[in-house]
Subunit: 205 residues, 2 copies
Amino acid sequence: MAGGVAAASALSSPWKALLQRALDANAHLRHSTYFQLATVGAGGRPANRTVVFRGFQEHCDKIQINTDTRSNKIGEISICPFGEICWYFTDSWEQFRISGSIDAIDGSSADPAKLQHREKAWFASSVKSRLQYLGPQPGIPVVDEEQAKDVHLEPSAGPVDAFCLLVLDPEKVDYLNLKSNQRLIFTRRQKENGSSDWMAEKVSP
Amino acid sequence: MAGGVAAASALSSPWKALLQRALDANAHLRHSTYFQLATVGAGGRPANRTVVFRGFQEHCDKIQINTDTRSNKIGEISICPFGEICWYFTDSWEQFRISGSIDAIDGSSADPAKLQHREKAWFASSVKSRLQYLGPQPGIPVVDEEQAKDVHLEPSAGPVDAFCLLVLDPEKVDYLNLKSNQRLIFTRRQKENGSSDWMAEKVSP
């Protein structure tokens, strides 16, 4: 792709294959599925936190993240519905910066397909991980160290109110390989028929 | 600190000791000095990338990062001079979210002390690392794969134009320990005499 812009395959996102390869190469590391999600927070200032990759949505590029409806990022996303993921793979020295819009799906969604995605994400996470959504609101002062230790949850019970599925729809992916010192920028291009494809460009690191 | 707010020592930032301990505990990992820096970019959207911790500024809490004046973040910081660091320590399972204002110091600074900090940061980085500031502008299309391979730099030569020191002045630190499941929020409080101290609060993770 040296020398400029090349149209990438419209069938599959070209960066997705790179990302899948990085996930495979770093799979022995527990933290390989952790990345940092930046949003715009209070007063227009940036916010940044580590979250867990919960897989791609079926048959597409959209990236899934579980979160608590009571966390600050929900309010932030309702004001500025954009995010940038920074995902650094510590073993292969690869960085993916993935920016796009974020859809926050809680139990009040009117879209049955979205509610189904949320339910699927709920059951895909461990019962232990589900329990955190029954705990106290994140970020509030701890008053009683012993509270909320006896929470019980039926494994067959559906998503609780505090459970929210975030879906990031990638628009641009900036890939950097620190071993080969190569950088590629992938940009999504909307086509006239409503579908989209990706352009790839090799740029200076 | 259970039960509410406690005034932390005014002499030293209480979170700095926690961060130093995390740095020591993870020092065997090359990536332990890498963190993600979020800023607000084009169109008010969040931007996020991995950068390298270049130490604290002498006798204070300010965090130093080297960057290229030609990178996007310089323009972003000139419009919105705030950042949030997300620093995840993969071995000790600790996360530090450090937010504050960012000062970008390039060679045009009128402040001799700042220029001195910049020069010190330049010589503190390896000659190999300095060479990148003589390479092509980051993010521009690669036209000739072979270009800029014969760049030479005198080890005694001072900072080049493209070298910029970023200094983040922390205002709030959100600490999360995933092993003990404990979270502390440290907030800087300005005092009447111009100095400041830190408040620490234990909150729900």
